[in-house]
């Protein structure tokens, strides 16, 4: 299995100096703690996490914009977290890992036309004659389903869905092996969201690109990812195939997340717990070093003072919860919880 790994994030820690005057605690905040994530070539992996979970920090670490204080990040077998200066710049110029930004209107230069925007990475990398450059730009636009006429327009003159396609074209023109998409569809309505998710799946099928979709929202990843990892306060607390994780969550936080997601039809989900059955409130119950979800967990036990490590939970699944096997049983014992 490890032979087929494209990206291998292994136990990374990211600490940032806390700048919040209000928090008064001096020293550093641990944004990511022992995060491991593997992505195989051509695989689509979803990372779901809410505000403060560290999902953007994880993306920035993989892109080499943040150096982890512990752990390694390997890409095609080479440790990229150890690269510095010239080597790191050379790796980035190659463009094997590309980022798709969240907000196309703010991440696209309003004064440039679409063709120039899409070609930017190629121009920085250099070494292409005019004809090959134009050919690659045209192919990238075609791959994302944009008509040729869009090439001459500016971001302000095209629709939101088209702009999101431009940000994807700008990434795939570099022929990357891995695409990191940070909230790629959260600004779109349901129909356009599905269009972009379909496009990502199609790019994977046609080009064999691996894709990581980072989102705070279930709807942005359900139906498209092969595997999902749930991030909570810098820890991956659960991982597995989306159908299983969303229907039968092993971690109480995943369960709360799924229960909280607005749904039109409850009948289409096997999962039928209500958020109020899962919410817990014991702020301050667990000190530093315990389970990060403890303060919100309904199933808190003495063991939770020790931080649970991710462990196997059936086939292809992991969970970091001491009570993963028992919390459901406790729920049944609490009528009308």
């Amino acid at each position: 299995m490890s032979a087929a790994t494209l990206l291998e994030v292994d136990g990374i820690d990211v600490r940032l100096r806390s700048r919040r005057r209000a928090s008064r605690r001096t020293g550093e905040a641990r944004i990511l703690a022992g995060v491991s994530l593997r992505v195989a070539p051509g695989e689509i992996v979803g990372v779901i996490g809410e505000t403060g979970s560290g999902k953007t920090t994880l993306a920035r670490s993989v892109l080499g914009l943040i150096t982890p204080s512990a752990g390694t990040i390997r890409f095609e077998g080479a440790d990229i977290s150890a690269l510095g200066g010239r080597q790191l710049r050379a790796f980035r110029r190659r463009g094997a890992i590309q980022l798709v930004f969240q907000d196309p209107l703010r991440s696209l230069d309003p004064d440039l036309d679409v063709a120039t925007i899409v070609a930017e990475g190629l121009d920085i990398r250099g070494g292409l004659d005019e004809e090959r450059r134009a050919r690659q730009v045209a192919r990238a636009l075609e791959l994302v389903g944009l008509e040729e006429s869009v090439a001459a327009r500016r971001p302000g003159e095209i629709s939101g869905g088209q702009r999101q396609r431009v940000t994807i074209a700008r990434a795939i023109v570099m022929e990357p092996k891995l695409l990191i998409c940070d909230e790629p569809v959260s600004a779109l309505d349901a129909s356009n969201r599905n269009r972009i998710l379909r496009l990502l799946r199609e790019l994977r099928d046609r080009l064999g690109i691996a894709i990581v979709i980072i989102s705070h929202d279930l709807a942005s990843i359900a139906g498209v990812v092969d595997r999902v990892a749930v991030l909570y306060r810098g820890r991956i607390i659960e991982e597995g195939p989306p159908g299983e994780v969303f229907s039968l969550p092993a971690h109480p936080y995943t369960a709360l997340l799924v229960a909280s997601a607005p749904r039109i039809s409850r009948a289409r989900w096997r999962f039928d717990l209500a958020p109020e059955q899962l919410r817990g409130e014991s702020p301050g119950a667990v000190a530093e070093g315990g389970c990060v979800f403890a303060a919100r967990c309904r199933f808190l036990a003495a063991r939770c003072r020790e931080e649970p490590a991710p462990s196997g939970y059936g086939r292809g699944r992991t969970v970091a919860c001491h009570r993963a096997a028992e919390w459901r049983g406790l729920l049944a014992g609490k009528p009308g919880a």
Partner: protein, 349 residues
């Protein structure tokens, strides 16, 4: 309040047991025009709905569908360049559309509360949030300083903010998005309004927080008898909170009715399409359905059915102008073919 009901939006039957609560809001024939380089264009046309005490109605649709303009019109706060070009907005029997600026201001401060998507931008970043809330109570509610402080603390507790006295002292930057939205709701209901307008108020929040805010709004409806207009592009979020739903398309209401009927037995092909693209999360669901074509831009809408160019059921007759007619499931629908179509809704569990 949760009990065994699957969700607050799915509990409409409760009403039939009691006499109907009094009417709070009646919007009729509401039209809004937008000034553009090529003259005034109608952006909202002939929108009407009613809302009783303790009821919630969801206005749902894509961006540009007119849902937000409708809600801004109800607040008397249309963006620059937009004018109310027709219709009436009756709040407790008084037509707001006929009010002048100062009349609106007094209605907005006491009878109608509003919450928007980005709470931080409505608060002073350097003042403790509790003081800002107390200020509203003092100025608009005419209370003395000490009484206002007491009421503010009470309201923060009602919003389920832990340690209200502590939160009172905090500035906006020290609070999470969900906590800020609770503070905004506290400000909105501070002077006991009859109507609360929530414009994409849960859209930018995390899932767990979004649900908490929806539950809070639901609780305020029941406890205070507050009528709620809830605007969202997310039909699922609307279904969680609202008794009734109005589906907007290209500036018009295309279907309106009680939430359960509309989502389980839609009468308009656009509603059906919205339901189809919104089905997510089940294992077999990998189709990621889309609605073909695109939503018309301002001024592009045709005389007949505005959804027709994207509709699989369109006929030539769909180019004729049409109004809302009674739908089989009890609501009203703007579709010539709806009596003969067998549209598929969501299975309610």
């Amino acid at each position: 309040m949760s009990g065994s009901l699957p969700g607050p939006g799915l509990s409409a039957s409760r009403e039939s047991l009691e006499p109907r609560p009094e009417l709070v809001l009646r919007v009729r024939g509401l039209s809004v025009e937008v000034a553009t380089a090529s003259g005034r264009i109608e952006a909202v046309r002939g929108v009407g709905f009613e809302l009783r005490r303790g009821e919630a109605i969801g206005l749902v649709g894509e961006s540009g569908s007119g849902k937000t303009l409708t809600c801004r019109a109800v607040l008397g706060a249309l963006p620059a360049g937009c004018v109310l070009s027709g219709g009436t907005i009756e709040l407790d029997g008084v037509d707001l559309a006929a009010l002048d600026r100062s009349g609106w201001t007094s209605v907005r401060s006491t009878r109608v509360g509003a919450v928007f998507q980005d709470p931080a931008s409505y608060l002073n970043p350097s003042l403790p949030v509790g003081e800002q809330l107390a200020e509203v109570i003092r100025v608009k509610g005419g209370k003395r300083r000490a009484a206002a402080r007491g009421r503010a603390l009470e309201l923060l507790a009602t919003m389920h903010l832990h340690r209200p006295a502590h939160v009172y002292q905090q500035i906006p930057a020290e609070l999470s998005g969900g906590m800020l939205q609770r503070v905004m709701i506290a400000i909105a209901v501070a002077c006991d309004p009859v109507l609360l307008v929530a414009d994409e108020a849960t859209t930018a929040l995390d899932l767990t927080t979004q649900r908490e805010v929806i539950d809070l709004l639901s609780e305020l409806r029941e406890r205070l008898g507050l009528a709620v207009v809830f605007v969202s592009h997310d039909l699922a979020a609307v279904a969680e909170l609202c008794d009734r739903v109005a589906v907007f398309y290209a500036g018009e209401v295309v279907e309106i009715g009680d939430t359960v009927s509309v989502i389980s037995a839609p009468s308009h092909p656009y509603t059906e399409a919205l339901l189809r693209v919104g089905f997510l999360g089940s294992e077999e669901e990998a189709a990621l359905e889309v609605i073909p074509g695109r939503h018309p831009r301002l001024g592009e809408a045709s005389a007949g059915c505005r959804f027709a160019p994207r509709c699989a059921h369109r006929r030539e007759s769909c180019s004729r102008p049409l109004g809302l007619t009674p739908a089989p499931a009890g609501g009203r629908v703007r579709c010539l073919r709806s009596p003969e179509l067998a549209l598929v809704g969501a299975e309610l569990g």
